[in-house]
């Protein structure tokens, strides 16, 4: 297939502004993965009618990490409010941006939220969204049990029962875990009730989880229940969630901060400097997404 054909190439929208701060490395990640990234300031959706703000022109919408609105009102809350209530041109006659996003998802397209972006998707009710097309607050992300911001590399397990296309390539690659940095103060996932917990488990929406990483322990690779392997006290050690359609994925870890092998804290002395730059977990994450979406576009085109 001709991956240079621009109609086939994956177009990634990356939201920026209002305190979001990981948009540039995220754009670089998509670029290195072969996609065409476009960074668009969130406010432009409300005053700018250029093609760059038309959602259906993109294959995947990305909410990067950062501190949108300084985390005031609770992390992700204020940006979620903006998306849920604000309309183009501040015009009450028009639909809020969230309605456009739901229309966009009906086209079978994708959304990824990382860290603060994950918080935004959760507060919007897009995750886990147990009833399709009906965003509702079912889970939340709140203060880490340690009560502090924390920067730490974690072992992230991949739930192989997950049906999300965004992770499907990892399943065929038989990849069970990733090493990625987490950097957050509010990453502890709580669920509204047992019913929601059971649904999340039975539908395998808990697609990424903190994994026990102590090699001395027998339960290596098990879901991590304790600090620091589970850095924030999340229920079911959840590090990432997807919705029932699999099109929306949110996660606390930062794959966009691991684009070359020398980013890894163990990298010195373990990797020969002469080795070719193999694809590391973070970049692989984006390559897999881009490959999956490309294949889907090709299939759709040939149909």
């Amino acid at each position: 297939m001709d991956l240079n054909n621009t109609s086939i190439r994956v177009k990634a929208l990356i939201i920026s502004g209002m305190g979001i701060n990981c948009e540039q490395e995220m754009a670089k990640a998509y670029q290195l993965a072969g996609a065409i990234p476009t960074i668009v300031h969130i406010n432009r959706f409300f005053f700018d009618n250029t093609l760059e703000t038309v959602l259906s022109n993109y294959d995947i919408i990305n909410f990067p990490g950062g501190f949108s609105y300084g985390d005031d009102l609770g992390s992700g809350q204020a940006l979620a409010n903006c998306i849920r209530y604000q309309r183009r041109g501040n015009n009450r006659e028009k639909e809020p941006l969230l309605a456009e996003i739901i229309q966009y998802l009906k086209l079978g397209k994708f959304i990824l939220g990382i860290c603060n972006g994950f918080q935004v998707l959760v507060k919007l009710g897009l995750l886990p969204q147990l009833t399709p097309n009906t965003p509702a607050p079912e889970v939340t992300l709140t203060y880490n049990l340690k009560g502090k911001f924390e920067d730490r590399w974690c072992k992230i397990g991949i739930n192989h029962n997950s049906t999300s296309p965004l992770l499907s390539k990892f399943l065929t690659q038989k990849k069970t875990s990733l090493y990625l940095p987490i950097r957050h103060g509010e990453g502890r996932l709580l669920m509204a009730n047992d019913e929601i917990r059971k649904k999340i488990q039975s539908l395998h929406l808990d697609c990424l989880f903190y994994q026990e990483s102590d090699k001395d322990k027998k339960e290596n690779n098990a879901r991590a229940n304790y600090y620091p392997s589970n850095p924030n006290g999340s229920e079911l050690a959840i590090a990432g969630l997807c919705d029932t359609s699999g099109q929306v994925l949110g996660m606390m870890p930062h794959p966009e901060a691991f684009l070359c092998e020398w980013n890894h804290p163990n990298a010195r002395g373990t990797i020969s400097t002469s080795s070719t730059n193999r694809t590391v977990d973070g970049l692989q994450f984006f390559k897999n997404i881009v490959l999956e979406i490309t294949q889907r576009k090709l299939t759709n085109n040939s149909n």
Partner: protein, 1136 residues
């Protein structure tokens, strides 16, 4: 309706409280702190927030209280976490379940509410307002809100189960939750009847729109010195007599008076109406304030520019120094720049010569042409030093201190410190660069400080916690990685902590300006007559008024009452500002920008106006947080997150539009002119008219006195003569004491609170290994860009050694300088050799900031009897800077000084030790080749590189034994630069040949500590993550040493040493390097009498223990887990 009724009717209270069993770190911390510090159990708690909403404001959009209710339910709370109720403050209600009012309230006996004083910026309130605008589909940013700067205010509260004495509760609130400079506290016991009334009163003060202008005062009499003296004294301004006389002289000048009469007469106001020839127009209060800001220590560095009569008593030499800055700092950088330029010329000539008459094929071997200058692009002339780091980018680097604000309000002081230095880096040249790294060095009194606290002095532990939180929030919320830092503890920082904050930003070397076809050099600020002055960012309030002058004064117990000297930081506001500035510069809309830091508009406009030589400011255009500010307050306020831009008239409309779309307030507040004067108007009133030349060059030079004599102690001689101190040393015990001592132990608890990965550039992190044991590193390394094509990067390091300053200030400074060099050499950075190709190389570019922090060093026979000695220490420190900098050809590109770091309360004075910090960034040509500090493989050989001397004076070892070098003869570590440089060049050679597996520099705690830290590796060379576990490696060490006892060999803190490990098969190659006569033919006469020792110490093992034999006897035998445990917990035990 009477006025009170109207006011009461203006407010809606929204209470958002946590649901049961929701973990709340804020409340938890309070309960835990009260328990720990006061042994009191507050019982269970419920935490939450109260939003006070200006209902009147929303009514203009036909939004009624019922709609505010649904706003609160749908947008301000998270239904999983919170319950919401309206207008029932003090009752635990729940709107979600229609239970407005809850009988359970009486289960909670105490209540504490923390809010912000009227006028203090309330970010959460602002965000709540933006959300309200989203909810009601109003535009984010409109000019409809001139009346109120905030329409929603927020409070936090805790209902506490147990009944608590109100005085105690208030005191604990001040101790753990609030700062009374910023916050008000309301405490109550059940029933909480009048709480809502109290909050209403406060809200009324905040929300009532008032509009008063205060007429400006003029000093009418200036015939006598006393007139002006009294005027300034009443205002607490830090002038000395000479300065006041000089100002008086200015106003008495005939030409000035003539101009003033002409200028002020135009307005026909009270100042000018009776202006006959005999009357004079004295200074306006605004003018005096402008002098105070512009001539403050903070802005003009009066002591660094003073004439100093210096007497060195050691060699009985007397010299007159005309400005420490010019003599030792600027001249060093100038000399280095000349050398680098000269070297480049030689390389260019060689290239021409070789290239012109050789065949094309042999031209490949000609000396390569440097792609860009290796000398600094801009030094000491802008907000930050500027060097070029790659083909398209400059790097702006600035480090500053924020000590006094951090002593008063640790969190606020530190966060405004880091945000302020962000602005310095980003506002260099045209501005709009991208901040890519933060660094910080913090000096505190130990958290277990036992001395009684003086009035106005905060407990050291609280200062540490607050400062760390401020640094973390500032960096994290701005998305700037904190790549490197350090913390130093000493009792003498109990009066004032030192908070050094640094930021580097990259910006394109060329930018296009709108309407111009050719790109221009972004390093220059080019402003033309007629360009607009634009203020950008946060609104102006009374915060931080007199910050620049306060930092020029000693702290005393009254400082705390001067509440306006505290500034409030808002990373959110600043992030929006930076995003906007980057975009506006890219669109070519900005001609120049500068930071509004100390001195506010007064400083920023004052500096930019020098470029065109004049400015007119319309003060009434400046957007205010609240009304009632006098003109002088508007001009000198240090309200944060602001910048001043120069914008051409043609670009203004577009810039304004862009600012509205990016939620940034941009206001045109005047014009640049070429009149030679700074003219300031406030509505129709003329309020200031000052000659720029006098304002900036009229400051009389200070004259100061300094002397230095090395203290007479037992520092000459051999400590071995005093063996009785060391006869019974238990090495295992001392080894563990050292590794857990506050100045050596792990900073992990703090490091992990700083985001060091954001932007994805991170290569060498503060701690390596993703699982414990984590290894501390010497320098931070990051990539410049994320493409696969280039792995060019930067190394960042800090060096400081105040522990030696009382014995030998010269070597305290030299040692700090050596420390940054050796840290960067350890990871794989490069210093230039004396060859032209090396000096001209773009791979040995360095940029260093110096930061001198001094106690009061102005001699006064009564108030400061040892002032001469302290200033003498500063002279010696500056001499060392010159010597080391010029020896290595490593330039200082920017710096700062902070001169009055004392706490004076009555007879008591706590003064910091004179401290210089060197912060360095240098080029790493290929980050993939950098080396970390920890051993990698079992079987590798361990070497000590460099010479160990009898240098235990000031050491951590002596500190643990409670010895000083007045009791035991030992010396301060000395920098032997003639030996160090060839050693560093050979280390570079070992790096280049790929021989090193690990490299760690030796500093506090000497060889033992470096060795222990180097064993902290969890992955044993197996690969990413696979070798996880606690402790995988150890070391077998055998030292044979006849001339030195083990304690000296192991714990001496001699400089310029490394601990390295290599693969055994590379032993020959490695040792060969040190046998040859240096990798470069050093042309100068190195000191040949001494040679560098390279000593094979032992091997890396997989035994997870360190066994150390000294002359065949095992003296240390410790398990790595045990060592790591001690190292890990040294500081952690004092942090939550």
């Amino acid at each position: 309706m009477n006025i009170n009724q109207q006011q009461y009717d203006q407010v809606t209270f929204v209470q958002i409280k946590n649901r049961d069993n929701i973990y709340d770190p804020w409340g938890n911390k309070f309960i835990a702190s009260v328990k720990r510090e006061h042994d009191f159990n507050c019982g269970e708690f419920i935490a939450g927030k109260i939003y006070t909403v200006n209902k009147l404001y929303y009514r203009q959009f036909n939004i009624e209280e019922s709609e505010l209710k649904s706003l609160a339910l749908s947008a301000w709370c998270d239904p999983l976490l919170h319950q919401v109720s309206i207008n029932d403050v003090g009752i635990i209600g729940d709107l979600n379940n229609n239970l407005n009012g809850d009988s359970k309230t009486d289960n909670y006996q105490s209540l504490i509410i923390i809010g912000k004083h009227p006028g203090v910026t309330d970010d959460e309130g602002k965000v709540a307002e933006i959300t309200a605008r989203d909810f009601f589909s109003l535009a984010h940013f409109q000019d409809d809100n001139q009346q109120y700067s905030q329409t929603i205010l927020t409070n936090k509260f805790l209902f506490l189960k147990n009944r608590i004495d109100l005085l105690k509760l208030r005191q604990w609130g001040e101790e753990f939750l609030a700062n009374r400079l910023i916050n008000y506290i309301i405490v109550a016991q059940y029933p909480f009847d009048d709480i809502q009334q109290q909050l209403t009163k406060i809200a009324n003060r905040s929300f009532v729109p008032t509009f008063t202008t205060q007429p400006t005062q003029f000093l009418q009499k200036i015939e006598r010195f006393e007139h002006i003296l009294e005027f300034t004294k009443n205002r607490d301004l830090a002038f000395d007599d000479t300065e006041l006389k000089s100002i008086l002289g200015y106003y008495q000048r005939g030409d000035i008076q003539a101009k003033r009469k002409k200028f002020f007469a135009i307005s026909g106001d009270s100042a000018g109406n009776s202006a006959s020839d005999s009357t004079v127009i004295g200074p306006s209060e605004l003018e005096i304030e402008i002098f105070a800001q512009t001539w403050s220590e903070h802005c003009k560095h009066k002591e660094f520019n003073a004439i100093i009569e210096y007497h060195n008593l050691d060699c009985n030499q007397k010299i007159t120094i005309n400005s420490l800055f010019k003599t030792y700092i600027q001249s060093a950088t100038n000399l280095i720049t000349e050398r680098l330029k000269h070297a480049t010329t030689i390389v260019e000539k060689k290239r021409e010569r070789n290239g012109s008459h050789l065949s094309p094929s042999s031209r490949i071997n000609r000396p390569s042409r440097p792609s860009w200058p290796s000398w600094p692009r801009k030094v000491f002339a802008d907000n930050a030093g500027l060097v070029q780091v790659d083909a398209q980018h400059y790097l702006a680097f600035k480090v500053e201190t924020h000590n006094t604000p951090s002593a008063l309000d640790p969190y606020g002081g530190a966060i405004t410190g880091i945000l302020g230095v962000n602005r310095d880096a980003v506002a260099t040249g045209v501005g709009g660069g991208k901040a890519i790294l933060n660094t910080n060095v913090l000096c505190f009194a130990p958290p277990n400080y036992q001395q009684p606290l003086l009035p106005g002095q905060l407990p050291p532990r609280r200062i540490m916690e607050g400062v760390v939180e401020g640094i973390a929030d500032g960096g994290n919320k701005m998305g700037i990685p904190t790549v490197n830092g350090s913390i130093f503890f000493d009792d003498r920082f109990a009066g004032k902590p030192l908070v050094f904050c640094g930021t580097a930003a990259i910006m394109p070397t060329q930018i296009c300006r709108q309407g111009m076809s050719e790109a221009i050099d972004s390093a220059e600020k080019i402003i033309d007559n007629g360009d607009l002055i634009v203020m950008l960012g946060g609104r102006v309030g009374k915060d931080g008024i007199h910050g620049a002058t306060i930092s020029s004064m000693s702290l005393n117990e009254d400082s705390e009452h001067n509440s306006s000297s505290v500034q409030i930081g808002s990373p959110f506001t600043q992030k929006l500002l930076f995003d906007f500035l980057e975009e506006a510069v890219q669109q070519g809309l900005v001609k120049a920008c500068t930071d509004n830091g100390a001195g506010g508009l007064s400083s920023s406009i004052g500096e930019l106006a020098l470029i065109t030589n004049g400015a007119v400011v319309e003060l009434h255009q400046v957007p205010l947080k609240y009304h009632g500010l006098a003109p002088w307050e508007i001009f000198v306020s240090e309200s944060q997150e602001r910048m001043t831009l120069a914008v051409s008239e043609s670009a203004w409309e577009q810039l304004k539009k862009l600012s509205l779309n990016m939620n940034v307030e941009a206001t045109n507040i005047g014009r640049f002119t070429n009149s030679g004067y700074l003219e300031i108007n406030y509505f129709s009133e003329k309020v200031a008219y000052l000659e720029l030349d006098f304002l900036h060059h009229g400051l009389p030079q200070k004259k100061l006195f300094a002397e230095w004599q090395t203290p007479i102690g037992k520092n000459e001689g051999n400590p071995c003569d005093n063996y009785h101190y060391f006869n019974n040393i238990e090495y295992n015990k001392i080894a563990l004491q050292l590794i857990s001592s506050l100045n050596i132990c792990s900073r992990e608890e703090i490091i992990r609170r700083y985001d060091h990965e954001v932007q994805g550039r991170s290569i060498l992190k503060p701690l390596m290994n993703h699982l414990p044991p984590h290894a501390p590193q010497d320098a931070g390394v990051l990539r410049l860009n994320l493409d696969n094509e280039s792995y060019r990067g930067l190394a960042v390091a800090n060096g400081m050694a105040p522990q030696y300053v009382d014995y030998d200030p010269y070597h305290s400074s030299a040692g700090a300088f050596d420390e940054v060099i050796r840290q960067i050499i350890a990871v794989g950075g490069r210093i230039p050799s004396d060859k032209p190709e090396s000096l001209a190389s773009e791979d040995s570019v360095w940029t260093i900031n110096d930061n001198f922090c001094m106690p009061n060093a102005v001699y006064d026979p009564e108030k400061n009897p040892d002032g001469k000695r302290k200033l003498g220490q500063l002279v010696e420190m500056c001499r060392a800077l010159y010597d080391i900098s010029t020896y290595y050809n490593i330039p200082i590109t920017s710096g700062k000084d902070s001169m009055k770091n004392d706490l004076v309360v009555g007879e008591n004075k706590i003064s910091i030790p004179p401290t210089v910090l060197y912060s360095a960034i240098s080029i790493i040509p290929d980050v993939r080749r950098t080396i970390s500090s920890e051993f990698k493989n079992s079987g590798d050989l361990i070497y000590l590189i460099g010479n160990t001397y009898n240098e235990l004076c000031g050491s951590e070892f002596f500190k643990i034994l409670k010895l000083d070098c007045f009791q035991v003869p030992s010396q301060v570590p000395k920098v032997r630069k003639e030996l160090a440089r060839p050693l560093y060049l050979k280390m570079m050679q070992a790096h280049d040949m790929g021989l090193l597996e690990s490299a760690h520099d030796l500093s506090q705690g000497g060889l033992w500590v470096a060795l222990a830290e180097a064993t902290f590796n969890s992955n044993n060379g197996v690969g990413n993550g696979a070798g996880a576990g606690t402790g995988a490696l150890g070391a077998d060490i055998e030292i044979v040493e006849r001339d030195m006892p083990p304690w000296l060999y192991l714990f001496s803190e001699s400089h310029s040493r490394f601990l390295v490990s290599i693969k055994p098969q590379r032993q020959k190659q490695f040792e060969q390097i040190w046998k040859t006569n240096g990798s470069e033919n050093e042309s100068e006469n190195e000191n040949k009498s001494e040679v560098t020792n390279v000593t094979l110490l032992g091997t890396v093992t997989d035994r997870k223990a360190i066994t150390l034999k000294f002359n065949k006897q095992i003296i240390i035998d410790l398990n790595i887990d045990q060592i790591y445990h001690e190292w890990e917990n040294g500081l952690k035990q004092y942090l939550h």
